[in-house]
């Protein structure tokens, strides 16, 4: 599934990021392929806020649609 479909509060693993312009910036912020994140908040129709350890990052919907994730269970 893509990141915009993730449920609030779910634990996710990043599978791939197809937007090459944003990929480098995401890697720098800590979100690379294989990284574990939590879907922290979903603003209705708006950005998805993910949490990677203590770090919160807001990702606009159009970009969230280009990020493929899978849910992980502890």
């Amino acid at each position: 599934m893509t990141l915009d479909q993730a449920k609030k509060g779910s634990d996710l693993q990043i599978v791939s990021i197809s937007d090459s312009a944003s990929r480098s910036q995401l890697v720098r912020m800590g979100i690379s392929e294989g990284a574990r994140v939590t879907c922290h908040e979903k603003i209705p129709l708006g950005p998805v806020v993910v949490r990677c350890r203590k770090q919160e990052i807001a990702i606009g919907r159009p970009l969230a649609r280009k990020i493929i994730v899978k849910s992980v269970k502890d």
């Binding site: 890697v27 800590g30 209705p44 950005p47 807001a58 990702i59």
Partner: protein
């Protein structure tokens, strides 16, 4: 080539002051890691804030004994994704030593930049800041192990309390190049002969176009590979040095969460907006400006200076009218600059600094992102638009923080066409209070539609794509007054220094027009439009002439006229959409260039008269 000290060419090319004797110490770090607090501590009171040559990015330069200390814009890595990064990159390349400030709570993000600096083989010392917050978050950082793994000195600090900063200053002497990635290091050595310095070699390998062109080599293709390796190393280091013990329940975190969730986020937003409006729209724009403009400047300054000038010049002579007449350079311009603009500018930078330092702005951007997508902007654009309701010229400057030229054009256009500034808003509200709820609703609807239509048209027809929102949400923090005051004063001083010659030129022109009676010729020229098309009295033309100087002058000119409620509505719609004031126009041209600036300025004539006329033709009959 290899004998040159690193980056010397940059200093001269970019007009930075040449090295005297000491070292050049550059502070580098991600946004919101407390760099400026450390900078202020190290350099004392006397720092110089200026624009980096050729850009609109601020940089601060100070001194530590014989050494020069430079603060840089916050960045996530060294490259050229945006203006901030280009400026930081050039300053880093000119550094002898880098103080890398990292946030102990966000090491997995911050160490990426640290490792990049280490890969560049620049001597660095790491300030591990926010140790107090790390403790509150139940994080333990093994400082010695971190220092061993990085191969550079790591000094734990709590910058806001001054803890560890003396140690940090002492550690500058023992800065190290650190342990770089062996593979990266090997690749750098391979191309070092062609490029000269390892710093620039790394940037070439990572595909930096500017640096590659400088050395006449093709940009490298290693960025993805290097970034992923670096990310892996950061994750390994963090796994070894950071230990989490327990779950924190900090108020700041809960507040941060509340700003994002719509049920609590929107009320919080409303409170913040009211607060800003109260501070700038009421406290500064009305009370403080009332005192500085009317009492201080018009009450004391103007009569005194007029009296002085009249000793030397004959009353009514051309020079007398240009100097101290209705639009005089020594009267109106000075009143405008110091009585009105200065308090507003200080008020703005004060509010903006609080918003910046509290960490609220990125959250606001996230909350409003969806709404702004429709007009080709992302959430970041909410900042200039909100500021526009206070002062359009200030707001136009903040469009710098938008991601692409396309977004800057859209935001600037919306601001200069449709957003009334606080001074004008005051007069508009006064006039609207006499016309009844129906016309108030029509006014809001018309102006709101213009905003959406202009945004949508530009979004449709401007080439390129707007950047998606990708923003790091820093923790909410209580801003430090000292830092806010300092930031406000430095920025205000800088703004006034840049702005004042233009105001003198602008109002000097109007004064000359008045003396040569060109002003009344213009008034007659405009009359057919005002009377025929807008169906307003002939004198309404005066309001438009004044509106070019200052937006609220235009609206204020309407208060003395006998207008029906329908005519008031038409006049207000027209004057709101009318051209920006001299101040905004100057800033507009400075920020967006002559062509775009003039297009917006003349476009505003067309839009104002077109929309005003249409409203008039529909409702007055």
């Amino acid at each position: 080539m290899q004998d040159l000290p690193p980056g010397r060419g940059y200093r001269h090319r970019h007009g930075l002051r040449p090295r005297e004797q000491g070292k050049r110490i550059v502070l580098v770090g991600n946004p919101n890691v407390g760099k400026s607090v450390i900078f202020n501590y190290i350099t004392g009171i006397y720092a110089e804030v200026s624009n980096y040559p050729g850009t609109t990015i601020e940089m601060s330069i100070g001194r530590l004994k014989n050494d020069v200390v430079i603060d840089t814009p916050g960045i996530y890595g060294v490259s050229s994704f945006n203006d901030e990064e280009r400026v930081a990159r050039d300053l880093i390349l000119s550094a002898d030593v880098v103080i890398n400030v990292v946030d102990a709570v966000h090491l997995e993000r911050d160490l990426f930049l640290t490792l990049q600096l280490i890969d560049m083989r620049i001597p660095i010392v790491v300030a591990l800041n926010f140790m107090d917050e790390a403790k509150a978050e139940c994080l333990e950082v093994d400082v010695d192990l971190l220092s061993d793994l990085l191969g550079v000195p790591v000094i734990p600090t709590v910058a806001s309390q001054g803890t560890g900063l003396d140690k940090l200053v002492a550690a500058i002497e023992s800065a190290q190049v650190g342990h770089s990635d062996p593979l990266v290091s090997q690749r750098i050595t391979e191309i070092l002969r062609m490029v000269g310095s390892p710093q620039e070699a790394l940037l070439v390998l990572e595909g930096d176009k500017v640096i590659s062109a400088k050395h006449g080599v093709p940009p490298g293709t290693c960025r993805e590979e290097f970034y992923l390796r670096r990310r892996q190393r950061v994750n390994d280091i963090v796994a070894h040095v950071v230990r989490e013990s327990g779950i924190s329940r900090r108020f700041a975190n809960r507040l941060g969460q509340a700003t994002l969730s719509p049920w609590t986020g929107i009320p919080i937003l409303a409170v913040v907006l009211c607060g800003i409006y109260w501070l700038i729209g009421v406290l500064v724009a009305q009370r403080l400006v009332g005192f500085t403009e009317d009492t201080l400047m018009k009450g004391y300054w103007e009569p005194v200076i007029r009296g002085l000038v009249l000793r030397w010049l004959q009353e009514g002579s051309a020079l007398e009218r240009i100097l101290v007449g209705e639009f005089g350079i020594l009267t109106m311009t000075m009143t405008y600059l110091f009585g009105l603009l200065l308090p507003l500018v200080v008020g703005f930078y004060f509010a903006l600094s609080i918003l910046e330092d509290s960490g609220y702005l990125p959250r606001l951007a996230a909350l409003t992102d969806r709404l702004l997508n429709g007009i080709g902007l992302n959430g970041r654009a909410v900042i200039p638009i909100i500021l526009g309701f206070g002062c359009v010229s200030m707001a136009t400057i903040t469009t710098r923080l938008l991601g692409s030229e396309r977004e800057k054009t859209i935001a600037t256009s919306i601001l200069n066409f449709t957003i009334p500034c606080s001074a004008q808003l005051g007069v508009i509200m006064l006039l609207l209070s006499h016309v009844g709820a129906k016309y108030v609703a029509i006014y809001v609807l018309v102006i709101g539609s213009c905003l959406v239509i202009i945004g949508t048209i530009l979004h449709r027809f401007l080439p390129g794509e707007s950047s998606p929102l990708l923003i790091d949400l820093p923790p909410m923090r209580l801003p430090r007054l000292e830092n806010i005051v300092r930031k406000t004063l430095n920025r205000s001083k800088f703004f006034m220094k840049e702005a004042y010659p233009w105001f003198i030129v602008g109002s000097g022109l109007v004064a000359i027009m008045q003396v040569t009676s060109m002003l009344s010729v213009w008034q007659s020229l405009l009359a057919p439009f005002t009377v025929g098309w807008l169906q307003l009295p002939r004198e309404a033309a005066n309001a438009f002439v004044m509106g070019m100087v200052r937006r609220d002058f235009g609206a204020a000119g309407l208060t003395s006229m006998q207008l029906t409620p329908a005519q008031t509505l038409v006049a207000l719609v027209t004057i709101t959409l009318f051209v920006p004031c001299i101040a905004s126009t100057v800033v507009l041209v400075k920020e967006r260039g002559l062509r775009e600036g003039l297009t917006i300025w003349f476009g505003a004539w067309v839009v104002a008269f077109l929309v005003g006329g249409i409203v008039s033709q529909i409702i007055i009959r």
